[in-house]
Structures are given as C-alpha cells and as structure tokens.
Symmetry: C2
Subunit: 339 residues, 2 copies
Amino acid sequence: MIKTDKILLGHGSGGKLSHELIHELFRKHFRNDFLDMQTDSAVLPLDSELVSFTTDSFVVDPIFFPGGDIGKLAICGTVNDLAVSGAVPRFISAGFIIEEGFSLDELERIVISMATEASKAGVIIVTGDTKVVNRGKCDKIFINTSGIGMLNRRNRLIGTGSEIRQGDKILINGPIGDHGMAVLAARKELGIQSEILSDCASLNGLIGKIMAISEEIKFMRDPTRGGLATVLAELAAGKNFGLMIDESQVPVNSKVRAFCEILGFDPLYVANEGKVVIVADGSAAARILDMMKNHPLGKESRIIGEVTGEYPGKAWIKTGIGGKRILDMLAGEQLPRIC
Amino acid sequence: MIKTDKILLGHGSGGKLSHELIHELFRKHFRNDFLDMQTDSAVLPLDSELVSFTTDSFVVDPIFFPGGDIGKLAICGTVNDLAVSGAVPRFISAGFIIEEGFSLDELERIVISMATEASKAGVIIVTGDTKVVNRGKCDKIFINTSGIGMLNRRNRLIGTGSEIRQGDKILINGPIGDHGMAVLAARKELGIQSEILSDCASLNGLIGKIMAISEEIKFMRDPTRGGLATVLAELAAGKNFGLMIDESQVPVNSKVRAFCEILGFDPLYVANEGKVVIVADGSAAARILDMMKNHPLGKESRIIGEVTGEYPGKAWIKTGIGGKRILDMLAGEQLPRIC
C-alpha cells in the first residue's frame, strides 16, 4: 500500500518504496505479460527482423492542458515517430524523472492517461524506470518514451525522402498549430482563456490505412517542434527539388490564427502533435486524400503543395497575395517546453 | 558552426539550432550509418527475433565523478541491464534533457565519454532527442538511454530466476559499494577528499565470456540502486528458497568500508555500476569463478553465498561473529541521485 500522497526521494531509491510504486501504480495500470515478468529488461518476441527504434523526452509545461497531458503526449509522440517511419508501433518504454513532493494523484492521472492512449494506439508499455530528484531540481515530471515498431522491406526508406521527385504532392491531415497554441494558452502566467484543444493523437491508425492502399507514399513526418515549415525546410535541404506550399490551402483553425496574430507567432512554425505531412506521387494524391478524409483524424486533410523544380534545396510558400517566400528552419525558440 | 559556449533554449526548439547541435556534436561523435540516415527513427536490421528492451534515466549528481561521468554511466547502465538479461547489447537511444545555460564544452565531454564507452562495449547510439528547459527547471543535464539486445531462446529466462534451486551458489565479480561512495565523496558540499573510484563499467564482455562456457547460470542482476542486499531480497521474495550470503566472503574495499562506517552506510545497500550478481548451479560455480577471475572486470570475483532451504522467501546474511540477519529491501533513500 502506498501510504503517502506525495512522491518521496525513496520512490526512486530502487528499494522498498520503488517496489511499491512499481507494483501499485505502474504495473496496475500498464498491466501486460512483459511487465509481469518483473525483469529489468523486457523480453520481446518480434515478428520482423527489421525494426524502427526511436526515443523522445517530454518536458511540456503545463503537464495538463486542453486536449491532453504529458502522459498522453509521451505515448502519441513516440507512436507517431514510429508510424511516420513506416513502422507498426508495438513496444514502448517509459522513463520517469519526478520531482520530490510531486502529487501521487497527479502521477496516477498521468499513468492512466498513458495506459489509455497506449491501449487506443495498440502499443504496450513493456519496461520502465523511475528516478526522483530533490525538490527544485526538475519541474514536476519529465517522461522519456522509447519505442520499437515493426518494418517491412518495402517501407524501410519512407523516412528518408530519397525517392521524392518533381510533381509529387504534399498532403497534411488537418489544421496546423493547435498543440502549440493550446499549451501556450494553458500557461497560467498568461491569464488567457481559450477554447483551443491540442491535436495530440496517435496517428498509426490513419497512417496504417493509407499505407495499405498506396505504395506511392515517399515521405512522412510529424511536424512537432519547429512546425510544418521546419519539416519542409529540413527535407528540402541539400536536395535537387523545391518544396512549395500554397498558403491558401494550408488549414489553420480560426482561433489558432487569431491567437497567433495577437502574440506574433507564425502558425507554420507552431508545434503539432496529431499531424502528419505526407509526400506522395502526384498520380496517387487524390486517392490518398480521399482515404485520409474518411478517417476520424483526417477529416480536414488537404493537398497543400507540391515538389517543384523551382528553388531547389528550399521550402517555399506561395502567399495569398501572389508572392513567394522562402521558408527557413525555425531560428531561435518560439515556445520552450511545448512537448 | 556552433557559435555559443552555452546551451540556449533554441537548441531544443527542433529548428536551426537543434539541427546544428545534432550535426556538429551528436553526429560527429556518435558517427554511424543509422544516425547518418537522419530519420526520426532508426531503421535496424536485427539478427534475432527475440530481443531484450530496457530503459534507464540518469540524474547523477555531480555529473563528473572519479571513475566516470553521467555519459559513461548512461551507456554502462543500459548495456548492463541488457547483458544481465542474457542478451547481447546492440543498439542504444539517447534522450537528453539539458538546462538552459549548460556549458557546451561539458556537453561535448559527456558526449565523447558516451561515444568512447559505447565503442568499448560494442554498441552503437542509433537515435536521440534533445530537450532544453529554462534555467532552474532541471539540474544541468539528465540523460535517458534505452537499449535493444539480441537474445536466444536458451537465455530467455535468465532474468527471472525461475530455475533457481537449493544448493545453487551466489557469485559477484568484485568489491561492492565503490560507485555510491565515489559519487557521494565527489559532492562538493561534503568537502571530502577520497581516492575511491566508481566501478562504472560495461559488463557485457565479462558476461558474454561466462555465458559461453556455462549453461548453468540461472540468474544475473546488476546491483545498482539499493545495492546487493536489495537485489537478493527482491529475488528471494515469494520464492520457496532463501538466499544466504556469508559476510566474510563479501568483498568491500577498505576505503569504502571506512567511509561507510564514518557516514553510517551499510555497503550491502550502496549502489554499484560495474558489478553483477550471479546465481549458478553449485556444480558449475568453481568453473564460472575461474573464468570470471581471468577477466579484467572480474579479478576479485568471489562465491559469496548460496541458495538455502532456511528462511524461504528471504535474503539473509551469516555475519562475521556467527549470527544470522535477514536482509530487507532498502527502506527510504540512502543516497538520492546516485545514478
């Protein structure tokens, strides 16, 4: 029985309190055969000899925000990194760094949120670690998740973009900037009331569906930190093609647009946590778009641009008033601790 | 070119500065084909369909200590978790959480230390992530490493101890308590000068050697946080055997013993980072011990105890003066942030 309502240093000792925390919180909610073996490492039978492996740490502030929390985010983020690599996400690790004095109730809410999202995404949390640092030495809770997904030979290059050619189309599954603005608005110091919800979601269902109907997908990436513009600028860098997006086609929710205008942010650089940018052969784009629109997480999907001969090595935007502008990678930092 | 000597918030933005940090620091030192693909996830060909998967976060204070640093520790810790599960460690992820203002020189020292230890252990760092939090929101740097190791069917149960029987012997590869006491002594606030070195080391070489000559190994665990006593107490819990260690046979360096006595610590509960506890069939113990002693990391190996019918479900110690004492798991926290 956990007899305290706060995290104590002893919960990270590796001794009796760690043991209780693992048994009465983590194993209770993350329940699965792998965790039940109680070994330090999880022993996993894989059904492929080609896997995708990724890691992400989450330090979002605040830890609870409209549309999600740090736990949900930690699952979605790693599931999405695996899914955009063309893999089927399967196994997740969870490493917690917790500040002494953190509320056990809040920790349980976070753990339940992770378990719920993992179950929705069809992944299991198979191994974990908890460290506790003295009060003031971290900010409430940081979570690292690493993940393993199964790949097949056909999908092994989907994350590199090496097969992109002029005429390919650029698609996205909905409006940009929701996550960044939802988290920013939730910061108490701003004293703002907003109805913006984070788009935080696991995209492996949507991505699995479109991969099943199309061999013409050449690249996928989730535009998280740095936003849509940074993904495109990074992808174009050093390549012999340009990446053009048409401003009038890029979906942005009106509340996000208004909030960005007031605060001086460009939605193209604001973080998303439930969006995927896809580059696909022009001949397949309409079919892929239809399929995306039929999925709950893709109702507002759009073709937002294409691969051009113009501006090779650059991402660029055709603006509403007919101008052209190069999109550089995010310089400096717009919003620290957005994920 | 990195044009600053401090970590800025922008180094965690996912934008231009993140890009520079990845290219000019992480990829430079961790150089390998998987990182060079520059995808978010690493695509890994495995040579086994049974793998071991583990995660660990490192928050050690201070980050540099006699015998190691947080970077070396982050590699050894995860390599050892994989090795004691019976796996051959192969792939490592690295997730950094860094405080704004942290020295880039120190970061480079840590990254070089990780690269050096990874190369020594024969593992590669294939994927990573960097977050930067505002000054005062973490303490210098925290590192998460997750790891994948290859298992074969024969070794799949080595982490569970399910085949342990009365008469089996308990072995360890050298003196206990060095890591915990070295880190504690390195804390400036104590104002202590000590010559104690952390035992921080990757044990996969030693473990691979003894596994190659012996099918009689029934359990391995690295006695980190909570120390030797906690490993044994955890292993015995709920089992129908007792685990006895003979105090006169447990090696402890004289400086560690003296330091523990002054500060009131029990070396049995102090963390190690280069030790492995092995339970093996009695008939094979002498042969395993010989092999261990022939390895540079096992010169001071000892048989320290055995599996008994007495005190089932408990770890216990035969003391120097002929007494018997139950060893419980570590209660509370002896030394926060020891790893």
